[in-house]
């Protein structure tokens, strides 16, 4: 598994994936719709998959002494790694922001506990649709992305809009009591993300087994 991930990072990943992953730092921008960070987390894998198609990455991997399913496993692992690194990169900046810019983010949701929970759910929506659709063919990146990015963007929009309604103001708060109240959203996000990845891998691997390269 480590070797496959090494292959993904050294040969398959497009440089943009690293750039978009680092865009987790955007949560330090004083006024910005932070939901965009998650969309960058979807855009990075898309560009890498396009690049992979150009570089015949799947052919190369299929000839290595690994099972066909390993191709799916390594791609899923790369997507998970980039998204988790993106969240980890953003975390210290989210904390830093509290001290540096205590006025809050007028553009949308704060980078708080609920934000990360929603983020994991948005990633899940994207991953399940994008990866399972892509591995139906092993090359159809464009449509897979379109089908996946529309509901993911809707998720971001809902998150960004809902916090402007007074009854959901607690979701936009960074006060300790409110952060605690948001904790179930983060836990739900984590569970949804883990289950989503397992389902994504299983469905994708099953579909890819039938694909003729």
């Amino acid at each position: 598994m480590f070797d496959l991930l090494y292959k993904e990072l050294r040969l398959a990943a497009h440089p943009n994936l690293f750039v978009f992953t680092l865009l987790g730092v955007l949560v330090i921008v004083p006024a910005y719709p932070y939901g965009m960070v998650f969309l960058f987390g979807c855009l990075g894998p898309f560009i890498t998959f396009m690049y992979g198609r150009e570089t015949n990455d799947i052919y190369y991997t299929a000839l290595l002494p690994v099972k066909k399913r390993a191709i799916v496993k390594s791609k899923v692992a790369l997507v998970v790694l980039s998204q988790l690194v993106q969240l980890s990169v953003s975390l210290p900046f989210a904390v830093l922001r509290l001290g540096l810019i205590p006025d809050g983010n007028p553009a949308g949701i704060e980078a708080n506990v609920a934000y990360y929970g929603f983020g994991l759910m948005i990633y899940t929506v994207f991953n399940v649709i994008f990866l399972t659709h892509f591995f139906k063919s092993g090359y159809n990146v464009g449509w897979s992305f379109l089908y996946a990015i529309i509901p993911a963007t809707l998720g971001v929009l809902i998150m960004e809009i809902v916090v402007h309604f007074p009854q959901f103001a607690w979701l936009d708060s960074v006060e300790s009591a409110m952060l605690l109240r948001q904790l179930p959203i983060l836990l739900t996000g984590l569970i949804v993300y883990i289950l989503g990845i397992i389902a994504t891998y299983r469905i994708s691997a099953k579909r890819f087994d039938q694909v003729d390269l």
């Binding site: 070797d3 292959k7 040969l11 052919y59 299929a62 000839l63 087994d209 039938q210 003729d212 390269l213």
Partner: protein, 248 residues
């Protein structure tokens, strides 16, 4: 010992069927897989490698069922698809650094030796290599993990006569010690005359013949015209077998 044994390989596509293909390759021999464009050569090779899922058939490599022992079998083979470039913007050194991690029997000394022999520069990018050099680089990778069976899909297509001759004499040298075997597809019949012990001929998805070169040529002598006194060549065999008349 058989390096490769294929029995009843069948694959249906909407407009093409590879039907009941069976042949075997002994260790230490070179087999040419011939057929015109679209005859099913690549489908056969991809089915052998599990890149295409066959509808029926059994593939054995070194006496082991390929599907059941895919990983172990792949450790012992080297594959070159002519015309498919991997990571054309990457340096050879990067591709090697990744590839060698997957092979338990990677021999770094051998790799360095092949780089020198084939005059490959590791800092070069794939796109900077000529077609012949690309094939040689893939061969260097395969030989450095001690591949005992080389499966090559049209490795000489698109090469100039000098590079082709160079590659074919290399194939001969590779099997000299009787340890390695080569299965390569081609539609260039002169390649086979220079460099094949056995020939397997596929026409429209069906196996037409598979035998050692002499027997193979002999078995097609019924195509000889009455005025011809000499044996007909492989090229004649292929052209006379495939010839079609267009009523236009």
């Amino acid at each position: 010992m058989k390096a490769l044994s294929i029995t009843g390989l069948t694959k249906h596509y909407p407009n093409f069927t590879l039907e009941n293909v069976s042949f075997s390759l002994e260790q230490g021999r070179i087999m040419g897989l011939i057929g015109k464009n679209g005859a099913g050569k690549t489908t056969t090779l991809k089915s052998i490698l599990n890149m295409v899922t066959p509808d029926a058939g059994q593939i054995e490599m070194f006496g082991r069922d390929f599907r059941r022992h895919e990983q172990q079998c792949k450790q012992e083979i080297g594959v070159v698809f002519g015309g498919i470039d991997f990571y054309s913007h990457k340096r050879l050194s990067s591709i090697t650094a990744v590839t060698k991690r997957f092979y338990s029997r990677w021999d770094e000394q051998a790799y360095q030796k092949y780089l020198k022999t084939f005059e490959l520069v590791p800092t070069k990018r794939v796109k900077e290599l000529s077609s012949g050099m690309k094939v040689k680089y893939m061969l260097a990778l395969a030989l450095s993990h001690n591949a005992r069976l080389l499966i090559l899909d049209e490795p000489t297509s698109g090469l100039d006569p000098v590079s082709r001759d160079d590659l074919l004499s290399l194939f001969r040298q590779l099997v000299k010690d009787g340890e390695r075997s080569i299965l390569y597809s081609t539609h260039i019949t002169s390649d086979l005359e220079k460099c094949a012990d056995d020939i397997t001929y596929i026409k429209d998805g069906k196996l037409l013949a598979s035998a050692d070169k002499e027997t193979f040529i002999e078995s097609f002598q019924h195509l000889r015209r009455p005025e011809e006194t000499m044996q007909i060549t492989l090229e004649d065999i292929m052209i006379r077998t495939e010839r079609r008349n267009y009523d236009v």
